[in-house]
């Protein structure tokens, strides 16, 4: 379903006064798109996600999902967090079915075709992600990668119109992360869910997205709207292709040219070296430029 942000804005009141977290930002995500928000930490990309989820109130602007304004969290917008947010007292299967038992989602007749279908859907998603043998395990028995798979299945069981993902693979090791990226592509092709994905990993954004929005450092605004031309059926070795690397270089330049100049750093290093010199006659292992 189409998502529209119109001049969305967020400021926080702090002791120093009003701090902007997100400057007025507008963009549109078409149905079925996989859009990544990328930028340095504190640029407001996660804030945007929490605003769209309805978990935090915006200070200005509006969010429209399928033409209807978003005011509070709801089952139409599933969310996967960076930290594992599984319910530790429920088994994997119970976690995945948690939403099915809630008053808003519950089927009036537990034996109706819809109810059986929901339940089968939960099971087949678990199977698809290689979790079939862990249905009765508790979250503490799972690895980080598995926990995150369960969290993704749990968010998808409800068939959300929009899936929000906040650095979902950020805490995983490089190999597990790539496994889950491939899995995400598979799910996206299969489910056609519209996805808004926050990351600071350029490779991840390029590999997964159909579009990338690049944020400037705090207070954030969008400095680039990049269409990713790779289409469907992506494989991991795409990350080595010249086109991929070219786009990666372009994004790298965008993300790093805002950095504060490093000229002060030399002076600071020199002071550090002098501090060493004064204490001992042996020169420290830092070469002078």
């Amino acid at each position: 379903m189409k998502l529209e942000l119109r001049a969305l804005e967020k400021t926080y009141a702090t002791r120093q006064g009003v701090t902007p977290a997100l400057l007025p930002t507008s963009f549109t995500v078409e149905s079925g798109e996989f859009v990544s928000l990328i930028g340095p930490s504190g640029c407001g990309k996660s804030t945007t996600l929490y605003l769209v989820a309805g978990l935090e109130p915006a200070t200005g602007g509006e969010i429209l999902l399928g033409g209807r304004p978003v005011t509070k969290p709801g089952r139409d917008r599933g969310m996967v967090f960076q930290n594992y947010t599984l319910f530790p007292w429920l088994t994997v299967r119970q976690n995945v079915r948690f939403s099915l038992g809630l008053a808003r989602n519950r089927r009036p007749d537990p034996y109706s075709r819809e109810a059986v279908h929901d339940s089968e859907r939960a099971d087949s998603l678990l199977e698809l992600l290689g979790l079939a043998d862990f249905g009765d395990a508790y979250p503490r028995e799972l690895s980080g990668g598995m926990k995150q798979r369960v969290a993704i299945v749990r968010a998808l069981v409800n068939r959300p119109q929009l899936l929000l993902m906040d650095e979902p693979f950020g805490a995983l090791d490089a190999q597990t992360r790539e496994e889950l990226q491939e899995m995400m592509l598979l799910l996206q092709e299969h489910e056609r869910t519209t996805i808004l994905f926050v990351t600071h990993d350029i490779d991840e954004a390029l590999f997964l997205s159909s579009r990338i929005l690049v944020f400037s450092p705090r207070p954030g605004r969008i400095v680039q709207d990049l269409a990713v031309p790779f289409g469907v059926g992506r494989e991991l070795d795409l990350k080595l292709s010249p086109e991929f690397l070219r786009l990666k270089r372009e994004l790298f330049g965008l993300l790093h040219h805002h950095h504060a100049p490093a000229r002060d750093r030399d002076a600071l290093l020199r002071r550090l070296v002098h501090a060493h010199d004064r204490r001992s006659s042996a020169p420290p292992a830092i070469s002078h430029p």
């Binding site: 978990l55 089952r75 969310m79 939403s99």
Partner: protein, 271 residues
């Protein structure tokens, strides 16, 4: 330089586990040492046997008491008072603490007044309790209730607040209503901690029942200790004290076993 394989935590490493047999041996040794000190003190010629009887004498007296119906009725009375007082306090502290831990307004409603009452020493309330509730069972149960409730309700609230906020947020995105977040998520997630708080409060309830019985009662372990002291029957006092220790230990153990059974999902590394 030593190879990695030879790096083994010693028994004196901070927070490193020791073998079970070593743990138990040390625990047993502490008890035996205390017993030995007792034996030594009680057999010194300068010690008055009336004040400090020998362990053997206490065991002998205790064996007689175990066949005495009065002893068992004392245990029963104290146990019932603790149980009623504690159940009443748990039944009220659980919902109120959950309310306090979930909603800031709930906190404002209950917390400040609770903090205030908590600092009134419970024994100071005994005269008032006796005037209001009489000298019967009710005043004792109320003393235990007041002694534990105001502590427990704060602990329940704390445990509720300790539940990661992400669990609340994720529940909302899955379509949960506010009451479902409180009942199905916050309560469930806080339950192991709440259960542990109940275990601690139950221990305090035993202190308050003795206080209550020392002041005004016709039976119960505390009352009997006071009566023994009037007649200088110190071996019996010592035996009753040992019984109180054993009851406390046994109930604490029972709480732990039940807790471990109920909350198999919780992280077992944090005890």
């Amino acid at each position: 330089m030593k190879s990695a394989a030879s790096v083994r935590p010693s028994w004196f490493s901070i927070r490193q586990p020791v073998p079970t047999w070593a743990y138990r041996t040390v625990a047993l040794l502490t008890f035996l040492t205390l017993l030995a000190v007792w034996q030594w003190v009680s057999t010194r010629p300068s010690t008055n046997a009336i004040f400090v009887p020998t362990p053997a004498r206490v065991v002998q007296i205790g064996r007689d008491l175990l066949h005495d119906a009065e002893f068992w009725s004392d245990v029963k009375m104290s146990f019932l008072r603790v149980t009623y007082g504690f159940l009443l306090s748990a039944a009220l502290a659980l919902p109120l603490g959950l309310l306090m831990g979930s909603f800031h307004l709930g906190e404002a409603l209950i917390q400040p007044v609770t903090e205030f009452i908590r600092y009134i020493p419970v024994p100071a309330l005994i005269p008032i309790l006796m005037i209001v509730f009489g000298i019967g069972e009710l005043s004792k149960v109320m003393l235990i209730f007041i002694g534990t409730f105001f502590q427990l309700v704060l602990m329940v609230a704390d445990e509720t607040r300790r539940v990661p906020f992400e669990l609340v947020q994720v529940s909302y995105t899955l379509g949960a209503r506010r009451d479902e977040v409180v009942n199905r998520v916050l309560l469930r997630a806080a339950m192991p901690g709440i259960f542990d708080a109940m275990r601690l409060c139950h221990g305090w309830a035993w202190s308050y029942v003795i206080v209550a019985e020392l002041v005004a009662a016709n039976e119960g372990l505390g009352y009997r200790i006071l009566k023994f002291s009037r007649f200088l029957q110190t071996p019996k006092i010592w035996f009753y004290l040992l019984v109180l220790g054993v009851i406390g230990l046994a109930l604490d153990f029972a709480f732990r076993v039940v807790g471990r059974r109920l909350f198999t999902w919780a992280d077992t590394t944090k005890r």
